[in-house]
Symmetry: C3
């Protein structure tokens, strides 16, 4: 039986939940940014705000770690989970920034599939955070994140094949490749979050 | 003196050995895939089977971790080693999939050198697995993997220089770059496996 | 109050300091290599020597780890910090090697900004090493490395946008992209060093 947590420990869960909710917001901004006719400059600005919010959640977790005598799980794992969540936002912000920087007018429609996978992974991650308290019922989360990551790989590789089909001019191919690579890194980063949570659960088992 | 292991603990070593043997199979499929006149679709299908087998070994290790009270070394390290081995197969499978997807007819002959390094690293890794039991005689394994990784870097960089020499058309360059990058990631992933084993040995020392 | 360290433990700090000083040397070689009119072959040769020196520092740390009964912080963290420092030198050496291999005559002037960030990060890292002894006053180091890494991201993305602007021919774009990517990896690697030090400090707190 686990001991009841003190309010102080509890706050780690709240901070992780906030960090994950911030990722959901970022993923929805991505959906908007890749929609035709969206105000990309304004959305990229919101995305930057999201990334700053992510940094602040991460720093709040680190500060709390330094102040806490007791932590709900290993300090090192708290540290790693916070970093992994931060990485997701960073890759999403990078993708948004590059779309604006390169002034890419039309993205291939398969990018929508990439971003939808990210949105779904963000929602699953946010849903899983409250379950860190009990470390129960996380199995379905890992399985689904792994399935989504495989799906993201397939979409990404097929998008690359399309980019290299001869349909686009060289500079467009290069620009789009950078963008979809950041989106692929974001999908990988969700898997790293899930792996960290799985490794915490393994230790607590 | 180390205590005698229980059969239960022993099974971790068996699972790691299976995972490493699976990587040897994958590396040999790569050798075949890049050979002229091979049936690439059939071989890529076998590679996908290999990747699924790899996933199953990884999940078997995770499941065993959750069920085991005593483990031969830190849970976290077992977790990391399983993940590192899984990464190797994933990169090899990605390379094979991209070769088929892009319908690359002729690969530069230096790709053979890249793949031979991977095959050698796979064999060394599989050979090292039984020595995890005693943690003895692993030194030569690390040194050789590091040497192979340096060699892989040299081959990779010289291949890039050849791709960018003006000899190939732009789309071909881009496609081949993606393929050889996955092969380079696989070489790096072997080094991560060796690093994890080295860090386990350091802790046990 | 921390116990006084034995001379044996002290030597870890000396080895980390040497490894970081070697990175400062490597960063200054990079500054020279990208300067117009420099003898690149000779400088790349010196860079290779730097990378070998880095490998030797890393191996000395690993050897010491294996021989030491008591270590100033967790074995695993010493291992990770040594690896992270090694990565920085590896990426810098890769960038230098590619500049020579591709025979790139003129690099865009913004590459100077990238390399200056690396030189500053190297100096900060070397300055921070003696503070590992007390784990005091490391805050400003993390904050500044994070700021530099954000700056490096901005410079890198703007450099990519410039490469893709149509100003350069395709092969030149591809070659320069590989070089600036290695420099960006080096900037990321400095952040990994800082993250590892932060996570050690978190544990010791």
């Amino acid at each position: 039986m686990r001991l009841r947590l003190t309010p102080r420990e509890d706050s780690f869960y709240d901070l992780f939940a906030q960090s994950a909710n911030n990722i959901v917001t970022a993923s929805r901004l991505l959906v908007e940014i890749i929609s035709d006719g969206s105000d990309r400059d304004a959305l990229a600005e919101k995305m930057r705000a999201c990334e700053h919010a992510g940094d602040e959640h991460t720093h709040a977790i680190m500060k709390r770690l330094n102040e806490s005598f007791i932590t709900p799980f290993d300090r090192e794992d708290i540290y790693r989970l916070a970093s992994n969540l931060d990485d997701v936002t960073d890759f999403m912000e990078a993708a948004a920034d590059l779309i604006v920087l390169y002034q890419i007018e039309h993205l291939p429609k398969e990018v929508v599939l990439q971003v939808e996978v990210l949105e779904r992974a963000a929602e699953l991650t946010a849903d899983a955070m409250p379950r860190l308290r009990s470390m129960q019922h996380l199995n379905e989360y890992w399985i689904e994140i792994n399935r989504l990551e495989n799906q993201a790989d397939q979409v990404y590789r097929r998008l690359l094949a399309k980019l290299f089909s001869g349909e686009f001019d060289t500079l467009t191919v290069m620009k789009m490749r950078e963008v979809i690579e950041q989106l692929e890194f974001a999908a990988d980063a969700f898997e790293h979050v899930a792996n960290t949570i799985e490794s915490i659960a393994v230790k607590e088992s």
